[in-house]
Symmetry: C2
Subunit: 189 residues, 2 copies
């Protein structure tokens, strides 16, 4: 079940380096893209850093709305990650499906604080508001954001930590290259 994550624990959703799906919406348009280049930036208030290429449709919607969703997909969603990561939202605008969500049959829910749709079936979610840093954005495609709400599937994340044992289909994905991913493996303590 999806449950809120206390904001001081939000960084732990990204701490182990998962590949994420970025969602965004503005003025009736919405999009979703894959992003391996993300990291936590601060504990409390939680902040993150993420790279959003200036050629993406997602970039356009994020710059217009000032917010985005970070969705942490799991092994069961590997094909979705490849699908949404292999085309542009612009490719669908003039087609009957209109966006990637319709094109790939993606179910969404609304977060608490932002307008971006959040993807069902993920194992963690962060609602993010852009911290405007025009130099970083234009020079490095680098976005900094404050996490204003966070959620996780309590089957695999609770009390501030991941516990994937017994839920192999819910393990996070870590992109290598060329369509290959690593999943998380054993927990060491």
């Amino acid at each position: 079940m999806r449950r809120p994550v206390e904001l001081p624990h939000a960084y732990r959703l990204l701490n182990h380096g998962p590949t994420v799906l970025v969602t965004c919406a503005h003025a009736g348009q919405r999009n979703i893209m894959a992003a391996a280049w993300n990291m936590a930036l601060d504990f409390n208030p939680p902040k993150i850093a993420i790279v959003i290429d200036k050629n993406t449709y997602t970039r356009e919607l994020i710059e217009a709305s000032g917010s985005f969703g970070v969705n942490i997909p799991c092994r069961a969603q590997k094909d979705i990650v490849m699908q949404v990561g292999s085309c542009s939202g612009r490719d669908w605008l003039a087609k009957p499906e209109h966006d990637k969500f319709n094109a790939f049959g993606l179910q969404t829910f609304f977060g608490a604080e932002i307008e971006a749709p959040m993807l069902e079936g993920c194992v963690g979610w962060l609602e993010c508001k852009v911290i405007p840093e025009p130099h970083n954005q234009s020079t490095y495609d680098l976005f900094l954001a404050e996490v204003v709400a966070a959620w996780a599937d309590d089957r695999v994340f609770s009390e501030g930590r991941w516990h994937f044992e017994g839920h192999d289909e819910l393990r996070t994905l870590h992109y290598i290259a060329g369509g290959m991913f690593l999943t998380t493996g054993e927990t060491l303590s």
Copy 2:
């Protein structure tokens, strides 16, 4: 065996989100610390982003030298990651060991382009030169750097991709919190 990684493939060493060890040296002093908050920032020339807290001794040496090493530790080095991540280099300055390398018996080698020592036994290494961005550094503890040389253990990384099968002790570490790590698991394609 440690082999050079072509610079356009350097980002792939960090793409799957490993926790790293940052090494640094300046004027006869050296240090090493753990850093889970790192990511690739660009392909070619390769750049990375990493968070280096302003209270760390590492920060002092990096700001003085303008360079640092990113060492990607493996499962066999879990205890080293916890050791160097649980104390400050400043704690050792007045002791006979003088630094963490001596205190914990860490073997190092010299990279090609920077003065920081690189840690033996890791599975990947990036030699980095800071891209000065004073606002990011002071406001967010965020450092951007260009990767000027990269190396990997060819038992687990070659031809631009990770392949950990058959080498469980060389799997990368992904920090959760509270002394717990995830290792990489299955490869999916």
